[in-house]
Point group: C2
């Protein structure tokens, strides 16, 4: 206890990077940084804490859970989705497509973050912001309220699932796998299938695996919108 005691060494050297005094925001930002670099699997409490020069227990003063941390990350990332200035119902299909594509781009850029949103009801402010825009747009386009409401569910699932699958390929690529060779091997496998039991898949293997992620995603959105259009009372929009 005397002043003759030398400085306790480990207490000062504790953090190589004595940055902000550890807040909710810093933790979320750090989590996202790790997410972008290593994927959701790399985001562990220990890893985040280490990046902040501390131990995992310190995080629990600001974040109650790892699940909560992940949802906070998702909320912040959803904030990156930029929406059009205003809804243009006369070209609603194009605008819905634009928003979906923007969202898919943002999520895919953050690896497998959509694994989090697949399992949670979107109630964060930013998630509500996007949902409200699409909801309003569909209603203005003449889609019945109940149809529009359920369509939001479908659109959200579509974006999440597609972004998740896209991120899996990113993971594989960053894991060293040659993605083209991978798809080629699948095509070979399908085409070699016994033609008596799998006539369609074996003969159309090429067709099955054709198209990159964006093409397939845009196709799915298009199918959904075409289907939605048939629910508009006065029939399909005239060209």
């Amino acid at each position: 206890m005397s002043s003759a005691m030398p400085e306790i060494p480990w207490h000062k050297a504790r953090k190589a990077d004595p940055r902000q005094p550890l807040s909710r925001d810093v933790i979320v930002e750090t989590g996202i940084r790790i997410l972008d670099a290593e994927g959701l699997g790399g985001v562990t409490m220990r890893r985040v804490a280490q990046e902040l020069g501390t131990g995992p227990a310190s995080l629990y003063a600001h974040v109650s859970n790892k699940d909560e941390l992940c949802e906070l990350m998702l909320e912040r990332i959803t904030g990156e989705v930029v929406l059009p200035e205003r809804a243009e119902p006369e070209r609603w299909k194009e605008q819905v497509t634009e928003v979906c594509l923007a969202a898919q781009r943002v999520f895919t850029a953050h690896r497998d973050i959509t694994l989090v949103s697949l399992g949670s009801v979107p109630i964060g402010p930013n998630q509500l912001r996007v949902t409200e825009f699409l909801f309003d747009l569909l209603l203005r386009a003449g889609v019945p309220a109940q149809v529009a409401a359920w369509a939001l569910d479908a659109l959200g699932q579509l974006i999440d699932t597609d972004a998740y699958e896209a991120s899996l390929y990113v993971n594989r690529i960053s894991g060293g796998t040659d993605i083209d060779a991978y798809f080629e091997s699948i095509k070979d496998y399908l085409s070699r299938l016994p033609a008596d039991r799998f006539p369609r898949m074996s003969s159309l293997a090429e067709t099955l695996i054709s198209g990159d992620g964006d093409q397939r995603f845009l196709f799915k959105v298009d199918v959904l919108l075409r289907g939605l259009e048939t629910y508009i009372p006065q029939g399909p929009t005239r060209e």
Copy 2:
């Protein structure tokens, strides 16, 4: 080593249930039993081994991985999906709906197993069986090959995602949460949203959360099929 030695106790008492001599099939079956009872989170190598009266290391002689075990489980479960006797293209929409509903029922009955299929290309025999049937049905209905191929992707994602979300509610229920009260609280939350920024969601909160899982799922399938129909060259099928 003499015959005077008493029975080695721990060798006989090792397993309370000395069943089959540990094969791939038994391991997969045990995994599915645990999956049904506790969800995918309960399926650990230790838990499966314990159920078989052995240690986790023993499983690795029959299964190379936990991931492989999960995919084997998925494959076997997919085998439970019963397909119609033969494709009836004249009522393709109804038949696709039937198959989708059947698949969704099977998967939902096995908790969150679809979390596995979300992350893997379906190449197991049983998965191919279902896919081939749907592919053939769509082609016979007049859907162009490329459209049908991509539609298979969309249908699979729809089934997987919906079954996964349904299972989350099952998990919550088995976790003791009152699911009705949960949705009611979400409805309250949405309706209390500031009306200036969220006019649509706050006023239509009731509409947003209405409908049970089956209704919403059937709606999504219907939208997809209606959209698909517009891709058929001679236009929508006449009634």
